[in-house]
């Protein structure tokens, strides 16, 4: 059996007993400090995905596709996951915990489980429109740019959900702007 790099976790991260066959810790992005990437078993990940409202209605095959294209990460409070003005390379789905959305340092929203963050930059390749910071310990699903398009093309249920999300954001903004 192959085992990953099984280093002891630093004291500030809570580590549940590993349920997977192997646990790998990867330092993914130095800009954001340490990202601890937990390789849960495939089935556990799919089970987890199926509980997120965004993926409601997805078939088992579709969930498997999402699981294959994404990583589950655990972040500590205060971690900046999206930085306003920067280029975006990934989209996030909040699985557990809450994140704060800030625009020019002013808090504009709090998001929780099932909410999507950062998909705009992946769709139009523009800079991040806001910063997003973990408010609590957060479990997030990360989909990297190079997987994102494939996922929305191959998981129509998700594409349609995302479309509805964008549509409602357009309506909200539109209403707040034009009254």
């Amino acid at each position: 059996m192959t085992t990953g790099t099984d280093r002891p976790a630093p004291p500030h991260t809570t580590r549940r007993p590993p349920t997977a066959r192997h646990v790998t810790i990867v330092i993914a992005d130095p800009r954001c400090g340490l990202w601890f990437r937990r390789m849960a078993s495939k089935q556990a990940k799919i089970d987890h995905l199926s509980k997120v409202p965004l993926f409601e209605g997805c078939s088992k095959k579709e969930l498997e596709r999402v699981a294959r294209a994404s990583d589950e990460i655990v972040m500590t409070p205060g971690t900046v996951i999206v930085d306003q003005g920067q280029t975006g390379r990934e989209a996030f789905v909040v699985m557990d915990g809450t994140v704060v959305v800030k625009r020019s340092n002013r808090k504009v929203a709090t998001l929780g489980p099932g909410d999507v963050v950062g998909e705009l930059s992946l769709l139009d390749h523009g800079p991040r429109t806001a910063s997003v910071i973990c408010e609590t310990d957060c479990t997030l699903l990360v989909i990297e740019q190079r997987h994102f398009r494939g996922v929305i093309e191959e998981v129509p249920t998700l594409a349609i959900r995302l479309l509805a999300t964008l549509a409602s954001r357009i309506r909200d903004l539109d209403r707040s702007y034009y009254g």
Binding site: T129, R149, L163, A164, A167
Partner: protein
Amino acid sequence: MFGKDQHIEHLRQLPLFASLSKKEITAVAKASDEISFPAGHELLTEGESGTEAFVVLDGTVDIKRKGRKIASLGAGEIIGELALLDHTPRGATAVCATDCTVLVIDRRHFAPLLESTPALAVKFLQELAGRLRALDRTAFG
């Protein structure tokens, strides 16, 4: 009457459908119907739910919000397309300013198309993302 070929041409001119293949755009055209309305007809009403989008083929349509005219749309423009994607009430009223011929796309026909045509869903997502960003900029500077 405009023929199916002209419907396809009109649809192709919309940024939303511009990058679709011939086969995909033909499917969109098939899912839509051409209808003519007299001046004064309300295509959609603010606050009411709706399931249709309209592509203007001929004539002018006024867009009003709370009774105030905010835009005037002509041939080749699309109205009410958000209703193809969600079930939220209309955000504005659209009234035919002249006699109009429009292409009606209903969610019932469009939803299966979105599911079977990934390119359409992706294009739609990109288009909405662009619009959201533009709105975002006007709203927050």
